[in-house]
Amino acid sequence: MSEVRAKGRIEIDRELCKGCELCISFCPRNVISVSDRLNASGYLPAVFNDDGECTGCAICALVCPEVAIEVYRG
Amino acid sequence: MAKVLMNGNSAIGEAAIRAGCQCYFGYPITPQNELTEYMAANLSRRSGCSFIQAESEISAINMVFGASVVGARAMTSSSSPGISLKQEGISYLAACELPAVIVNMSRGGPGLGSIAASQSDYFQATRGGGHGDYRTIVLAPSSVQELADLTHRAFDLADAYRIPVVVLGDGMLGQMMEPVEYAHEAPETLQVRSDALRGARGRPSRIVKTFTSNPADLERINWSLFRRYRLIAERETSFDTFLVDDAELVVVAFGIAARIARGAVKTVRAAGLRVGLLRPITLWPFPADVVRDSARKVKHFLVFEMNMGQMLEDVKLSLEGAAEVAFYGRPGGVIPTPSEIARVITRLYYQNGLRVDR
């Protein structure tokens, strides 16, 4: 719905993710949700919804215990 | 160089310094405090060296572990109860293949025991002592000179084979004052062991560890350690003999007991008894082959030790039934005299109908 290009983008390594959902809890823009597809370890990983709201604040990466998130900004 | 009169404990310290010992970590316990104090006075003054009176014997052995990890010649010392405390640390050193020198000036046990000389830590020293399958080289000096020589040798053996080495003395050897000559000067620069962990500069990072979640890995490590132990047994077994060539009965004794036994052997020889003395110097590796070979000619052995019968088992294992083995032991820190041992030998000799030269 926003016309402005997204300021940020993240990439979640779905095989590293253990579905702790902390990134989801702390994301200030609600751009992360739980996938409905299991990963190879049997977790439902987090998935990034690239709808233009991400600011690249990197809070998700900061809290991710698995270092599963890379963040892009700019 | 000239001989100096020193007590055993101090001689160990001087020898260690001359062997390039960089770190000493210890804790006071009778009867080895002269060693700790010697290191406090002399090691701490040497550039690059460290002396710490640690908060416990446990802490001290773990400090030795750390110093050894980074390639330093490190030692600790204690007496029986304190050596018990160090056993976990020694097991870790052995598992990680780290050199270290551990001096035990043993005293009477078990428990708090007595402060007098005893030899009741033989099992503890030669069977690993801590948990798991491992061995440490065990050197048993019999004089102040040997305390010095074997302390130096301990550092060399530890580095050569990446193994903890125990110098097993006792409270009497530690207190005795005898002339001692040092074959080496203290080194100008301290060596750093080649495989030391010194930070991952210009190479991949390394790990010194023992834990594995895969038993098969641990099995491999165990077999590897024991191949090395076999090599050490082939190369480093050491012993001394006195008048064994024509002996009908051989006394087997180590350390201070061997000093006493030597006097007894001289006495009984003067009375025409053909008695000899076999003195293991490495208690591990034990000179099993020597004992077994001597059973071709000698059918009677008397094991004399200041304990309830520990080396006795190694003698019996070595002989595999090829000869009679008698035992005389005095535990608790009681020091028998040469004449007492001479009486024991004499009784045994006659009771077995052995040949007497008149």
Binding site: P65, E66, R73 | S59, N62, M63, F65, A72, G199, T210
Partner: protein, 251 residues
Amino acid sequence: MRKVYTRPALLKRAVFHYCPGCGHSIVHRLIAEVLAEMKLGDRAIGIPPPGCSVFAYDYLDVDMAESAHGRGAAVATGIKRAYPEAVVFTYQGDGDLAAIGTAETIHAANRGENITAIFINNAVYGMTGGQMAPTTLSQQTTTTTPYGRDTRLEGYPVRMSEIVAMVKGAAYVERVAVNSPANIRKTKRAIRKAFQTQLDGLGFALVEILSPCPTNWKMTPLESWQWVDKVMAVEFPLGVIKDVTGGEGAA
């Protein structure tokens, strides 16, 4: 767009064996970042404990040496005395540092050993299955306090940082947590300061980190992160407990 966050160079590419939501891997990551930023990676020697983090050496790409349980401060002392150029740090759990390792910790601090101690406090013994730790809270249920910790029989939660701070050789002691973005940033600053204390030769540095253990607390990751604030931090107040370094504070 440019990449603004990626795996730190000193963290090996390995899947963490820790439970979802565990604080260990966050602290590992912060240590890796700090060591790289301070260019200490090739001088660092880390000492992991027995415990969940025994495998820290599989993650941190620096030289590491195992220690017997509780003896990290003694091993670190031996390393630092024998090779002062090393930047040595222990990484210890609550049992390791505050139960079996109490003597080693207090005395290393007392001697002012120039080492850095990273102390992970999760109020429970994790790897062995959730038994009481010295830092277990009053009435907290663990497998060895199945009816809740009774302080009359089992003593009180130990405030190890405050105890260590009392010895003169301790130069910098701070308690932080890794249960929120703000706290994670503070933890990183505290870790950096703890290494700086060592570099400056000022004495013993201890960073106590309140860390969530969802599995043994029997909570979801988010619940456990909240429990750190709501319950743990009440008993173990966050903040600088001692700082004689004269440098900038972490908070």
